[in-house]
Assembly symmetry: C3
Homo-oligomer: 631 residues x 3
């Protein structure tokens, strides 16, 4: 396929059919070619148990088809109708505090409840049977943003089954969970509960396993629906990934089960942080997709939601965000949602057609972007080029969300974002890779705070260095195995040639100075350079003169260790980065290279011999962008 998707979630059940006609007209005007329909339609499709109402949806799909708009048809299982909760109160979710939630929002179900799973398969089957051969159909969209957790007794049962599969015997579980501490030894599987509210600190491995369990359980729920759809349809099937600390989904693992990795992306910063986050989210999605194209399924058109307010995106910003996603591998730019709601909990959520209607700056920008994208159609088949990889591991993240760490300021996501941000500001494109990935194509691999690591992953990183790779390992890495058992002297000791004797976490408002003049914050360590060269040392304080940054030649490569959270200047020196006000991303297909240029500076940016301008302007104006094709 050589086209880029453009469109968004379309929830026509909110309006009279009269509006549908205007919608399709406006979609044509905007160049929309794909809409996601049905995400929240369960109570409209099945207003009472077993009584389906497809008429309206038939009509909507026909009209879209007539207007040349393809459909990504969603199963509505993220929002069961009110009657479902009344008939199956045991399927309402329970919090860690024991509160059983009430219907009245969305996502209010326990995915472990058999009644829910059966109902979800049922509505998926009904939709598949009715629409699998509708000519508008281009893709299936299972559910919405899998990510709920529940602590009810049904979830407890499933958790125990999962643990039996993982550990086989209680002896093995007791060892993995270190239950000899605090008298937690289990002698019967039925004694095990979810990590609900308890008197004091929870067992950290129990907590981590509950996350792992939920990722697998939600995946099973997804696969049940996928099976229903696949039975009657050969079209691509996906689900839209949502990213957040509360989401128990290992997206890198899930990626194997979706035909295209699809993500929702909502930055929460109003300043340049939104651009950093956009690049981060897009690079992460490409990493999950193993470098293959993926799809931006949702973003916000007119505003960044900072959590406290909707910050209106400045002119051109919506297009910059969209093109940044496409530059980094997205097969298109989709939005939530097409038309702003007239009421309900998200009535102020931005939309492609805002409350102000088509006569608005926002819709005009939507139309303008829609006119540009076809010129980039061929980009859809190309791959993004990156010489640097950063490691990302969801399990390590979850492990570091526990309450047991030596500093509550340790933050895996922040450490990874920080590493990514530095390359972004230097104009260098990076990939994300899992610890188990083949890293041989990268000149540099960065490993921020990889607290949890398996033997296999540690071996893979060693092999990478031995074959000539440059590896930079950050502080607090290699500390525990996948059971969260201490692996002193740590998984990287031999590779790095250092031994860490003691942790010296820093207060939030303090820093350490290095001999080079660089500065570190958040963390420091008493490091012994056993067989490593010392690159930089702590200067002053209790660690005065002790190694802070080390380097060791290993085979054809080099392994660095950085024992503190460096400030940007010090990190730039280590990574040999120079600041760039132009974000440059290259996608290549055969001999053709598309170069995406985003000018974040205040002055225009000239690009000599840039090749053929595809979209945007050359020289690139301040705040502008250009895509240039060269061969």
């Amino acid at each position: 396929m050589t086209r880029l998707w453009y469109g968004g979630d379309y929830n026509p059940e909110q309006w009279d059919p009269a509006v549908w006609k205007e919608d399709v007209d406006l979609m044509r005007r905007a160049g929309v070619n794909l809409v996601t329909v049905g995400v929240f339609s369960w109570s409209t499709l099945e207003p009472s148990p077993g009584q389906y109402n497809f008429t309206w949806l038939d009509q909507v799909l026909d009209q879209l088809y007539d207007g040349g708009v393809s459909v990504d048809l969603a199963t509505p299982t993220a929002s069961p109708p009110p009657w479902f909760s009344r008939l199956h109160p045991e399927a309402l979710p329970v919090t860690a505090d024991g509160v059983r939630l009430t219907h009245g929002s969305r996502d209010t179900y326990c995915a472990c409840a058999p009644a829910y799973r059966e109902a979800a398969r049922g509505i998926a089957r009904a939709l598949a049977e009715r629409y699998h051969d509708h000519p508008a159909l281009a893709m299936w969209h299972v559910h919405n943003e899998y990510g709920t957790t529940c602590y009810c007794s049904l979830a407890a049962e499933r958790f125990r089954e999962w643990l039996q599969t993982r550990y086989g015997t209680l002896d093995r579980l007791n060892e993995a969970w270190t239950t000899a501490f605090w008298s937690q030894g289990y002698a019967d599987w039925t004694d095990i509960e979810p990590p609900r509210k308890t008197q004091y600190l929870v067992n950290p491995t129990q907590y981590l396993d509950f996350r792992r369990f939920w990722s697998d359980e939600l995946l099973a729920a997804y696969l049940e629906q996928k099976t229903e759809l696949r039975t009657v349809s050969a079209l691509p099937i996906t689900t839209n990934f949502v990213f957040g600390g509360w989401v128990p989904v290992n997206h890198a693992q899930w990626a194997a089960e979706v035909d295209v990795v699809a993500i929702d992306h909502y930055p929460d910063r109003a300043d340049v942080g939104a651009e950093e986050q956009t690049a981060f989210g897009a690079d992460l999605a490409r990493g999950w997709a193993g470098g293959k194209p993926w799809l931006l399924m949702e973003q916000s058109a007119g505003a960044v939601n900072t959590g406290r307010r909707l910050h209106a995106k400045e002119p051109g910003r919506m297009a910059r965000h969209s093109l940044s996603h496409i530059a980094r591998g997205s097969q298109g730019a989709l939005f939530f949602q097409w038309r702003a709601s007239r009421g309900g909990a998200e009535m102020f959520h931005p939309a492609m057609v805002p409350h102000a209607g088509p006569d608005s700056r926002m819709f005009r920008e939507i139309v303008a972007l829609g006119a540009e994208l076809p010129r980039l159609a061929k980009v859809a088949d190309s791959n993004v080029e990156a010489g640097v990889a950063i490691l990302w591991d969801a399990e390590c993240w979850w492990a570091m969300q526990g309450t047991h760490l030596p500093s509550s300021s340790l933050d895996y996501l922040a450490a990874v974002r920080s590493a990514h941000r530095r390359f972004w500001h230097a104009g260098i494109t990076v990939d994300f890779a899992t610890p188990a990935a083949d890293l041989s194509s990268y000149r540099l691999v960065v490993v921020p705070s990889l607290y949890l690591i398996s033997d296999e992953a540690a071996a893979a990183l060693t092999a990478y260095v031995e074959s000539g790779g440059q590896l930079v390992v950050g502080y607090f890495s290699g500390i525990v195995d996948p059971d969260l058992r201490i692996r002193y002297p740590g998984a990287f000791t031999e590779l790095l040639g250092v031994r860490v004797e003691e942790f010296h976490p820093l207060p939030d408002d303090s820093e350490v100075v290095l001999s080079s003049g660089g500065r570190g914050r958040l963390w420091s360590e008493h490091v012994h350079a056993v067989s490593a060269e010392v690159v930089d040392r702590y200067a002053g304080g209790v660690l005065d003169g002790k190694p802070a940054i080390t380097r060791r030649r290993v085979g054809a490569g080099t392994a660095w260790y950085v024992s503190t959270e460096l400030d940007d200047a010090a990190a730039a020196q280590v990574f040999e980065l120079s600041a760039s006000l132009v974000e440059t991303v290259r996608r290549r297909s055969g001999d053709t290279t598309w170069t995406f240029l985003f000018n974040h500076g205040d002055a225009e940016f000239a690009v000599p011999d840039a090749g053929e301008l595809v979209v945007g302007e050359l020289p690139v104006p301040a705040g502008g962008y250009a895509v240039v094709r060269s061969t």
Copy 2:
């Protein structure tokens, strides 16, 4: 009646009868002529179910009568006795989180529980029968500070009945609640629940309707008691209104059902804010009373409770607060409570007789004020004069307490207080009016952030302007109808001659500059001046050059729009306000005018030709007051 009430809550059951004698003596010394008795007496009056003990109350009322003190007899239904909760555990309230509360404080009941309602009627009837012809009786005081909410299943049943009455059909409810979004369509009334804790954002209309329902339900509970009392007594019946974000009571509506609007007023600021709040609370009460006299039923004698500490009121401050209420329409000044408690949760609550006893500054100030009030007796029949009105709508407040707004800094109460404060600092008396009120007598009407508005109210405001009124509408007004459905381009578009295309909420620490040099914070908007004159523009930033303040001549009047939260200087310019250190309020009856003067400055204030001094001093000393009568 031409007298002012003076006194407070009297809870004699806390002391031995020996103290009662001293109490009456001290009341006489203080000029007390009304006390509220019985507010918390249920467990004393009915120590076990159906067994009444009236002897002590007989004695108390007789002694008060003998001392010349009238009684406002309260039904004790805000605090059922412990045995009630044991016998009716289903009547204990449940929080939105599902926690059923335990007896042990006060107000711990669900007003929807039939057992509670029956018991409340029972004790009201018993009191009415026994005391309706007691000569001390002057007034009935139903309950105390109606304001509790409960989410239990009994409340759910009543809520469903209320919804059936409001909407008639589920189709109408589904439309009003926009249930097509998020698959919330109801096909059965029994599927509807209170807005309890749910997975994510609650439906905003469901939330608003739950507030409306509780206002009506509590009113019904009040009316049941009123009926019991009215059956045997013709005396005035009231209940004391409490104001707060947690209170689901629409006082403007309730006002029709009380014989006199009575309020409790507790400022929570230690600085001049306490004076601002006093004027605000008093003007609001007068607004609820439709301009007629009302009654300050509770205030605190010796201290302002800031929430963190009891700030001792400076000498004279208690009298200033009391007179400010009277200036603004109160028929008196009453306190909670007469004598400070010896123990219990409010043992440090200030009182007319503090722990230090009569030999104390506080009691001496109480005695001094009691000596002045009779000289103001005739004020009781007069009306307050105001040429400016500010709109207040409880439903709009509740609607803006939802979680769905474009900025969490939007705050209806703060916007209204801010408008009121500016007039107060300019020495100008304002009324509060509901959107439906007759506004024709005002030269200026101010409408802060009236997010929710009905068609009728919008039409009334238009008519006001057309007949020559000056109307100032603030940002984020006219956005939704009473169902919380978006009404783009907004209820005021035509009247104001502007179209708002886009919201630009501001970060809390930022501001916008206007061409005039004025500044705004919190909010800005992309405004098109369709048929309005531009008074001021945004200068700089993304809205540079766009209208910020507009004005449109409509018929004989003018309609202004202010699209940001102006700072005080800019607002003073718009409203042509000049700062005054003297708070002046006028009450008029026939040809007689009472002018209340409060000097908030540091120097004495001379009033030439002021008329006859009734209380206070002339010139008015710094921090002092004077009431002057003229004809």
Copy 3:
């Protein structure tokens, strides 16, 4: 006994027996002579109900004995095994919000549950029977850190029984709780509940009594186990006290029931505050022990846990903390735990043998301290000398944790810590005493904010002054009796010769100035000097010219009153304190005096004629210590 204990908690069930051998070898190297075994061993000792596994413990005790290490054998009742919670779900604790906790941490049981109490006695009996004559045994350690609270119905029943014992009649309870306020009069014992979550403020006396009840109930649980142990063993029996705002244990009362007062002490400040807290905790323990030697049962070896991070203790700091405890009466220095855990919730808790193993600074410091302690062995029989006492009363603390006070900044613990800190910085050793203690040996007694006081305690303080004592009473003292009933004009009025008319709590960011130039914060009062001399006055503000500090000669002594929280300079003036950078503590036994010197300054400190150096260095280096013996 003339030796100091050295060692810590030893939880060998976390490792293979192979490690046990190394443990004993390392203990010998470190000079360890006592370890606490079994604190968290219940699920290992009794893996399923009634099936005991003692083999491993037999082996551990034998090996320790062979290595010359004595054992403090713990009953593991602070952490019941998972099967216990499954079999006795009614024994899982319930929070004030009604959440029943789930197994998965430690301390997750209700100490009122009969099943728990029976099981606890059972495992204690089994241990006693098996090990009472094991030659390694030196001491019994019941439970761990008694301190849990539960609000379940079983606790409610026990609470009611306790109240019946305390009050006898409901009339007496109703009076004590002031239930006449807010209609809380109880007519039936079964109406009384724990102070669970309720609608508004709880009854403060109910809250205080619930604390008192739990202290007594936990003590009863302790005594049941003590009885089981005493039946078969004459060895010392104790439990390790933990100190914290959440702990409902009156340690001064409990002290009568332990053979040696033992405490756990974990400072939470990284700066010199850790030293202040160490001295405070140690002095408090000595106070509980009535001046007799006591035992530091737990401290942290390598780091201070600030709540946000583990701050690595600087070189020498672990020894300084340990010696500070010994200086102040501890019979030794013990740690939690011997060897750092491999996993579990406290895997990063510091240990004597850290993850880095014996080749580490930390273990080397442990070995060095272990080598010094035998030289101090005779200190174990000596007593600490102090001429100043500060009053401490747990009930007053609990009473001031209520929600009813005139200022939420009133903080009993902070006031007491503040008083202690000032003497510590002046190098003066103080004792803590309960209000009922014999104070005749002290030249000065300080009484910070003793809000709650009994008649007996007030009389004892008066007698102290009359016999020649110097008494300094702080603000907000003597306000209520043990029922939390106001005792105006206060318990100290006559003794101090002052009458307090009104409280003037201060905002957190403000202060008052005194005539002397001193400053106060947090609190001020309108004081009348009835028969007292005025030492200092308020200057400026609403209290301008009124007494702030007073003094009254009474008999042979003097009684001071300080009506505000003085700053350090003003307090130093009142107490005639001069700052010292050397902490000096003296212990005496017969003619021998041991002087402990801790140099907190930046320069070395010479001590002329100091006597014989026992440990440390002379002159005392900056950051160092010395213990000197003289006769």
